[in-house]
Symmetry: D4
Subunit: 207 residues, 8 copies
Amino acid sequence: SRQGVSEVIYGAGKTAEQIIGISQSFAKHGQKDILITRLDKEKAEKINSEITLKYYDTANIGIIGSMPEKRVGKIVIATGGTSDIPVAEEAAVTSEMLGNNTMRLYDVGVAGIHRLLAHTDEIMTARVIIAIAGMEGALASVIGGLADCPVIAVPTSVGYGAAFNGLAALLSMLNSCASGVSVVNIDNGFGAAYQASMINHMGGLNE
Amino acid sequence: SRQGVSEVIYGAGKTAEQIIGISQSFAKHGQKDILITRLDKEKAEKINSEITLKYYDTANIGIIGSMPEKRVGKIVIATGGTSDIPVAEEAAVTSEMLGNNTMRLYDVGVAGIHRLLAHTDEIMTARVIIAIAGMEGALASVIGGLADCPVIAVPTSVGYGAAFNGLAALLSMLNSCASGVSVVNIDNGFGAAYQASMINHMGGLNE
Amino acid sequence: SRQGVSEVIYGAGKTAEQIIGISQSFAKHGQKDILITRLDKEKAEKINSEITLKYYDTANIGIIGSMPEKRVGKIVIATGGTSDIPVAEEAAVTSEMLGNNTMRLYDVGVAGIHRLLAHTDEIMTARVIIAIAGMEGALASVIGGLADCPVIAVPTSVGYGAAFNGLAALLSMLNSCASGVSVVNIDNGFGAAYQASMINHMGGLNE
Amino acid sequence: SRQGVSEVIYGAGKTAEQIIGISQSFAKHGQKDILITRLDKEKAEKINSEITLKYYDTANIGIIGSMPEKRVGKIVIATGGTSDIPVAEEAAVTSEMLGNNTMRLYDVGVAGIHRLLAHTDEIMTARVIIAIAGMEGALASVIGGLADCPVIAVPTSVGYGAAFNGLAALLSMLNSCASGVSVVNIDNGFGAAYQASMINHMGGLNE
Amino acid sequence: SRQGVSEVIYGAGKTAEQIIGISQSFAKHGQKDILITRLDKEKAEKINSEITLKYYDTANIGIIGSMPEKRVGKIVIATGGTSDIPVAEEAAVTSEMLGNNTMRLYDVGVAGIHRLLAHTDEIMTARVIIAIAGMEGALASVIGGLADCPVIAVPTSVGYGAAFNGLAALLSMLNSCASGVSVVNIDNGFGAAYQASMINHMGGLNE
Amino acid sequence: SRQGVSEVIYGAGKTAEQIIGISQSFAKHGQKDILITRLDKEKAEKINSEITLKYYDTANIGIIGSMPEKRVGKIVIATGGTSDIPVAEEAAVTSEMLGNNTMRLYDVGVAGIHRLLAHTDEIMTARVIIAIAGMEGALASVIGGLADCPVIAVPTSVGYGAAFNGLAALLSMLNSCASGVSVVNIDNGFGAAYQASMINHMGGLNE
Amino acid sequence: SRQGVSEVIYGAGKTAEQIIGISQSFAKHGQKDILITRLDKEKAEKINSEITLKYYDTANIGIIGSMPEKRVGKIVIATGGTSDIPVAEEAAVTSEMLGNNTMRLYDVGVAGIHRLLAHTDEIMTARVIIAIAGMEGALASVIGGLADCPVIAVPTSVGYGAAFNGLAALLSMLNSCASGVSVVNIDNGFGAAYQASMINHMGGLNE
Amino acid sequence: SRQGVSEVIYGAGKTAEQIIGISQSFAKHGQKDILITRLDKEKAEKINSEITLKYYDTANIGIIGSMPEKRVGKIVIATGGTSDIPVAEEAAVTSEMLGNNTMRLYDVGVAGIHRLLAHTDEIMTARVIIAIAGMEGALASVIGGLADCPVIAVPTSVGYGAAFNGLAALLSMLNSCASGVSVVNIDNGFGAAYQASMINHMGGLNE
Ligand SMILES: Nc1ncnc2c1ncn2[C@@H]1O[C@H](COP(=O)(O)O)[C@@H](O)[C@H]1O
Ligand SMILES: Nc1ncnc2c1ncn2[C@@H]1O[C@H](COP(=O)(O)O)[C@@H](O)[C@H]1O
Ligand SMILES: Nc1ncnc2c1ncn2[C@@H]1O[C@H](COP(=O)(O)O)[C@@H](O)[C@H]1O
Ligand SMILES: Nc1ncnc2c1ncn2[C@@H]1O[C@H](COP(=O)(O)O)[C@@H](O)[C@H]1O
Ligand SMILES: [Mg+2]
Ligand SMILES: [Mg+2]
Ligand SMILES: [Mg+2]
Ligand SMILES: [Mg+2]
Ligand SMILES: [Mg+2]
Ligand SMILES: [Mg+2]
Ligand SMILES: [Mg+2]
Ligand SMILES: [Mg+2]
């Protein structure tokens, strides 16, 4: 089990049958809480007819078992626009499943900087921030400049033309002029939340 | 003569002798004010021994004749960092030579958003803004979101690694989520200033 | 409201329901004229059953409320071929909605330069020109060379093979050897028209 | 002051004079410990003739003032090969300057997996790991799979041909099949150490 | 006939009718064992109604005639994940059809290095190894480091975002820091198996 | 001997000694007229001290023996700017050496379309045209539209930023919307002239 | 009319109605022979119900009116594989429609060089050759080396993986080490045939 | 020791002192025959003043100790042009050092296919072939089609313009339409020879 919390299945390219099989084998080994990412609705329903599963539509995530009751610390998940929300929800549901207090801050893109600044408090009190944006990906730099905590940037494939399916945002974020920013793969909300959870769960140095 | 103000020579790849020749031919046709871009110091000195020329070091520009005394309107030239200043000076000297009141706003990059916001007044009173940045190029979006006037973005080749010599900034700026932003070639301070001058000199609709 | 004229919704990736919701909230705030870009016919019809909307087929634009009666200045919109017309219409309808006299000059590509030259008058009397072309994107340079006003170039994804979905035209336009040309994202007719409108509406310097 | 520890100057593209100026202004504001990255030897010597500076050759770093005496936690810095050491030293000196216990694990690339496995203990006891590699960048995935803590991957420009100056390693690391890995810009040892230090310094949740 | 064993048809872009025609012409020339790659199920069934054909579903391969009874040597086919299995099966069925003892070692990706190391015996006794992986493609380097025999690496188009349809894995494998590794085209299981079979069938030097 | 006219040596990457050796061996086989491309001045002088050689400075070409006295037909060589002239001279000297009447039409780029149109006569009477341009490479399309004869386009590496060393011009020319245009490698003046000479020398159909 | 032979319509992105309209307008101007490229079957049938049109299936070409009876000279059209045939037929039908004797030489790719060499006679007697190939595009170089006439190379989008939709073949052909080879856009059979026809129709120098 | 024959040092980026150190440590462990690749002359001389070393100029290789007296089998090393020879010599000296009979077949590029065919005998009797070429890289396909043995292709960075430092040749070779071809990194003569030696040394199946 990863982080003693739940097991993860990457659902893309697996059939409902395969996912059921893997889940049953996890169950046999005593692991009942399972997070399935990149799961479309149709497959979710097939699985649900065999094993009870709660489906998170926007996040494309299915959860077998239950979310942890105890959530700790604070992970803020910010997006530039509304089109980035599916990626953000993948991150948010993952974050909650891994036991983190999770605050959503959606549609605070840099073209309207004052909407973002209105949330300075949330940004300053976060233990980790996940900054999600497509197109020019500037959000990561602005938040990185404001915050004192680690920022994990997620470029999204939102946009058209010279966005090149997330390449523009990816390059932009890798070149962030703010310190304390690292980057995961395009649209990888899960990966960002997984690392953010590791950081949020860090024990203090004297423990 | 372009804009009835001065003639322009693109100095890159031309010898001092060639530039002298072209300048003399301009002079014969009655054009005495000449802007020479992409001119290195050594060539500038050679030319200066034949034709009096004032050299702008950081801008890599030489000027034969004189700057216009009358300057109109207001062009604001902003940069993300100090390394972008050579490109900004190419824009600024061009802008002044073309008869525009020109305000420099350097090193106001988005990683320290409050430094930029401290200049909201200048941004709101500009007729045109030139936003110059390398690395992630986020400056154009933030300024584009704040300002109501046209913004011309100039990506610079500043940065390393995944900056890919200005490609990251270029893509970022082309995907700006702010309206009213257009883009010129990497490091093309001259081109931005030329178009900005056209816009700043626009006659009112009832003239 | 931007430019005191109308509010804009970027329709791509929004459901009809979401667009209706945003429009109703705009209406509540007293903004009745709304431009919705990247809107397909089907969604337009759904919206129309709730809020009266005029749909511009080729432009993929829906308009709630009405076009402004007063139009000022002159924006010329030129295309290289007939396949570029959808992007041009996105620009043209936006331009009209933002209150600009708008002249269409379609299919004047550089492979038949005399068709373009036959329109020299229109080009010389424009306050701003939007040059739209796919494939090799040469139109921007030729018009930029002819005109004395700002030219905003829009590369389109028209073409095949080494057109690479608009990349060839984009690079071509960024490298335009004519002065006074800037560039927006591939297929971004809206963005070009938005900036063109800003420029066309510039007050004179003594106002 | 960042993290209450030291101020940072990015030395690339700044003259010795400029760096002296900035350092003196920091000193005036009471900040005596300054880290200067991307500083070549020649400039370092010039600065040293004005302000005492300790130069770290391989790291290309200069330090004015002193390293912190107290270092906490544990950051492991691993490299695939010996050519990656300059980037690793940039990370290591930064890490030490920011007050972290820092363990170097160099030349443990995946082509000799047993050398890496021999260090399983260090990997399992780290609070954060920085994985630095050029060429195929596989080190990040293997360490990410072994470790339970956050891994920050740094692609380097080491290699030739299809390494494309770090692009191969960058893409490889972004696609890491291990969870808990994020990535910074090519050769950005400083950036990795800065974020690693933030994570290593995390207070426990009950503090 | 290649290698005196069987004839090969590349099925992609050929109609069932064309494949039947080619097969009948091979039959006339005395070649009865035919391997058809990149063959989808539908076409396979059409062909089967004319000529008896055994279809390998996951491999997308059809075989007319029979597999060789005698298989020699040992080719190990390893994959990083389960999504790489279709490519691996294209390699495996080809390998068997060309008369090689073929061992499948699937889902031994480097993020769980101990699963791979558990198979050290198979790796050390192979005459040739085919290493198949998408995403970051690190498998080839790790196996290349462990094994003393030739390793043929096959990047797959598995992954998303910055995997760029196999480009990340391809570059990674070309830059492998292990000696003895060469690479074939993305998803080219057939090509890898064909060369592996050549190597596995090498006569000893004194024959 | 190619075209019964002269032998060609590609000088790049060959030492003066090697070129002398090859030339002497050609001489032994009765071939006295030799064209050496990509030859820098220094090497040319070394060769000249052994074998009489006429050096064409701008073209970077050396010729051993003599130019043909008889020149036929008409090849027009046009460039967009003055920086393209070295490539154009490589083409022009090659064209003359291969026995073609060769007309130079330099600096007729599309940003000043009337300069090009002033030469309509030359364009309409050419048997083949070589169109050479860097930056946006639009010249090929405009000439291709005007002329009725084959046009061979040569992209040059002239430009900066998003010119990407000739890539922008290359893509632009490959996408030319004019019929009758084909393209050679970036800066390949020799290759264009070689094919142009083949075409110019075509016998009529009734010969 | 181009070449006094027939008018051309590029069918991609035009509706059947638009094509009928253009064709009728051509007819009014006395041009009855019309070549329509990139025309799919469905549209062809719609047009045919209004104007008699002969449809060439593999070539995706429709012809209104008739092919010229007189055909002159000799254009050889070679392909590397069978998958390149649609592009080759676009070239071949265009070539015939423009009045050229046209010889098809299909599936003579360089992996079986003797099949190509068996046709040396045809290659040596051609006036122009069109070399069409996908994947590695080596055909152009081999034919260019054998033939003394101009070779026009057409890269095709045939292939998978690192073929990158024709990019590999395109780059390969642009770098051909044989003299006398030029290149057109990926899959542009029409463009190659159009220029080939121009060359094949060249009058002799003494006409 | 690799293959029980000699130890290898990759000299690029190592100082003479470092190489001496490593070599002495190898000597202590009883390994006296050392192959040092990517070694420039200057460093070689420094090393030679400490440890006797034979330097291979064109190959950029230094050898400490001696070449093996016994060489077995047959590796053929072919190049397209003369500029590819440094890479070929890196392969050839490596091959000899690893105990293989090595035959050089240089400058047999496909633009003169008959020069290559004149060597059909050598090609048919090789146990492994290394095909080395820059520019369009077609050599690998032609040799792959002729030969029945494994072919290892090495793209070189020879060429200019759209050769993109070996990218064109690399893509070309990865897409080879011949079976039995695999590819190593650009300019990686060593890597090709290392794998070729493994294959050439294969024991027969009955050993
Ligand atoms: N076609 C378009 N392309 C790019 N940006 C657009 C387009 N249409 C609208 N926009 C921008 O999108 C904004 C509205 O986005 P949203 O808030 O998501 O509806 C507008 O204010 C414009 O800045
Ligand atoms: N999956 C594959 N990928 C690449 N090449 C293949 C594949 N399958 C077969 N081939 C090659 O294609 C040749 C047959 O091509 P064809 O004559 O078009 O059927 C075979 O001899 C192989 O060289
Ligand atoms: N500037 C050039 N660019 C490309 N190819 C060239 C050039 N100059 C000469 N060549 C070709 O190189 C061949 C000579 O190559 P080499 O045998 O290496 O001297 C000539 O026959 C031409 O085909
Ligand atoms: N398959 C093709 N690929 C590229 N260009 C073509 C093709 N077919 C026709 N054309 C060109 O398109 C022109 C007609 O374009 P249009 O006026 O849009 O019908 C012709 O004159 C040709 O130059
Ligand atoms: Mg911060
Ligand atoms: Mg704005
Ligand atoms: Mg102009
Ligand atoms: Mg881990
Ligand atoms: Mg090995
Ligand atoms: Mg023409
Ligand atoms: Mg030839
Ligand atoms: Mg073969």
